[in-house]
């Protein structure tokens, strides 16, 4: 029973994180290779407030949202200057720097991280599962609303063609920033849950591998849809459990799966077709950007 609850919490967190990444990368088309860092910012915010300031766990949620969204705003600002591959590398770099700052600043506990994080009395693992599931549902609801709002339509338009979206009166800067702030803020909200679920926070846990896992989940399920993000998070989140009997080959299977998916069905299991259509605005030259 306990085992299922723990797996359930992990899955709910994965769903939340993948959905929040989907807002930035799926709806807005902005690559993110450092999404786990925003979970880290949320988790560290909760950990610091609880251990250093004695703030109630419940009150760390809004703080986690704000700090993560603030950093998201900064990274979103970068997305106004750099595009596509440059942006992918920039977000990856931000992830590295965030981890390094946590790991090498004594104030943040250094390499030891921050431990001894416990949920408030009355919040046992089952309650934590309920809260995590609630957050996942909330994130899905936000996504659902966003998809149908004018902002969601503007985001999909700018994902297709920024110049044309501008010509329709949508300030692409505004909507990119909006996607980054919402997406990173929601990832930050998962932080307090993550922190007390594990009991400690440690910089490297929010590094590149975790970020890639999240991106992979979103892409595997299908970018740009809620069902895709949820399916990707649940299937790949369960995979380590299911593949336990071949756990020695886990990364092999994982890597192979990614390759096959991209070769056979790059739109993901349940994604929108936009990933399939060639001729997205690209640069001249280089053979991969020219329609074959």
């Amino acid at each position: 029973m306990y085992y299922y609850v723990v797996v359930g919490i992990a899955l709910a967190l994965y769903v939340t994180l993948t959905l929040s990444l989907n807002i930035i990368t799926g709806y807005g088309g902005q690559p993110t290779l450092g999404h786990a860092a925003f979970l880290g910012v949320g988790a560290y915010t909760a950990a610091m407030l609880m251990t250093r300031a004695g703030v109630s766990w419940w009150l760390t949620f809004p703080a986690a949202f704000l700090t993560a969204a603030l950093l998201g705003l900064v990274v979103g600002g970068a997305s106004l200057r750099v595009r596509e591959d440059f942006l992918a590398i920039t977000t990856m770099g931000v992830g590295f720097v965030v981890v390094a700052v946590f790991q090498y600043t004594p104030w943040f506990g250094g390499v030891m991280g921050i431990g001894g994080l416990v949920p408030p009395p009355g919040v046992d693992k089952v309650a934590l599962l309920l809260i995590a599931t609630g957050l996942a549902a909330f994130t899905a609801l936000v996504s659902w609303w966003l998809e149908r709002s004018w902002a969601g339509i503007a985001l999909r338009a700018l994902r297709d063609d920024e110049a044309a979206a501008e010509a329709m009166g949508a300030d692409t800067r505004r909507f990119k920033l909006l996607a980054f702030v919402i997406g990173t803020g929601l990832a930050g909200l998962a932080g307090p849950i993550y922190a007390v679920h594990l009991g400690f926070v440690s910089g490297p846990d929010f590094g590149f591998h975790f970020s890639i896992t999240l991106l992979t989940m979103a892409v595997f399920g299908g970018l740009g849809t809620i069902r895709g993000a949820v399916a990707g998070a649940v299937i790949l989140g369960l995979a380590p459990e299911v593949f336990r009997f071949i756990s020695d080959y886990r990364n092999l299977v994982y890597g192979g799966l990614l390759i096959l998916m991209m070769l056979i069905r790059p739109t993901g299991l349940l994604g929108v077709t936009s990933l399939r259509l060639p001729g997205l605005p690209g640069r001249k030259g280089g053979i991969s950007r020219a329609a074959p």
Binding site: E84, F86, A88, I89, G93, G256, L258, M262, L275, R289
Partner: protein, 288 residues
């Protein structure tokens, strides 16, 4: 002291340049962030180890690893990247990351998770001393091999027909085709040469630090991406400049302000700073 750091920095930069150059060349013709390039680097280290322990002949081990590394690179672009041409950039990027994960695990399964010694039992000879600067034989070797390979690559890119074909494909595929360039062949050779360089870097690093392990490509994988972006994605000269710059910057920052930042984060701090100032990369040509 400063001179010593400069030497160390140039050695590190030369190694970076070997790996990053292949990456930037591949980006030039394919427009793919070839993360799995670092997997070739690791492959080069293992192949070098295998050949070296069999023959105890370093040049042979180096050339053998480069040849097989080139073949591996060729196969990757043929079997993985060619089918993904025309897909949005995220698709080949994720495929490449998948391949990188797969390669790392394959090395672990084949060679074991433990760190292997490259030159078992052979001690590093005493360094040469010159005006207070200590240079080890390996450092000289690295500098010589790196300089030679970079020079050969420069000649191939700038003075041969195939180099011309690469530049044509990188600039405008349609015009290149109209000029009679066989794009598929040009790209295949390009990735093969780039991979040979990465494999060579793998052998040199393995020899230098006397260790080979499955995850040795992890840090380079990310760092090389930062370097090629700093160098203006697809720009070979800029990439070599950025490699040397980073090698020196890392060595100097660690030597004089080591507590500020971990060595491997410097690349990204430099990268982010530079991109905010010049969104197309530090050494990018104008208008590209």
């Amino acid at each position: 002291m400063l001179l010593q750091q400069l030497v160390n920095g140039v050695v590190a930069g030369g190694l970076y340049a070997l790996v990053a150059l292949g990456l930037t060349m591949v980006y030039g013709v394919l427009r793919i962030l070839h993360v799995a390039h670092a997997g070739i680097y690791t492959l080069g280290a293992y192949l070098g180890l295998v050949f070296y322990s069999a023959s105890h002949n370093f040049p042979l081990a180096l050339l053998g690893a480069m040849a097989l590394g080139a073949l591996a690179g060729y196969l990757i672009q043929r079997l993985l990247y060619q089918p993904l041409l025309g897909a949005p950039p995220l698709v080949p990027l994720i495929a490449s990351i998948g391949l990188f994960i797969l390669l790392g695990d394959t090395y672990r399964l084949v060679f074991g998770a433990q760190t292997l010694a490259f030159r078992a039992g052979v001690a590093e000879p005493e360094p040469y001393r010159l005006a207070g600067v200590a240079i080890t034989g390996t450092q000289v070797l690295i500098l010589a091999v790196a300089a030679a390979l970079l020079a050969v690559t420069w000649l191939v890119v700038n003075r041969t027909r195939i180099g011309l074909a690469w530049r044509a494909v990188a600039t405008d595929l349609e015009i290149a085709r109209a000029m009679g360039v066989d794009a598929a062949r040009a790209v295949g050779l390009n990735v093969a040469l780039g991979s040979a360089l990465a494999a060579a870097a793998g052998v040199l690093v393995a020899y230098h630090y006397n260790e080979v392990f499955p995850a040795m490509g992890d840090v380079p994988a990310y760092k090389m991406l930062a370097i090629v972006v700093l160098g203006g994605l697809g720009n070979p000269v800029g990439t070599v400049a950025a490699s040397l710059f980073l090698g020196l910057a890392e060595t100097l920052v660690v030597a004089y302000a080591g507590y500020l930042l971990p060595r491997d984060a410097i690349a990204f701090v430099a990268l982010i700073g530079a991109l905010m100032l010049r969104p197309q990369g530090l050494f990018a040509r104008r208008g590209t």
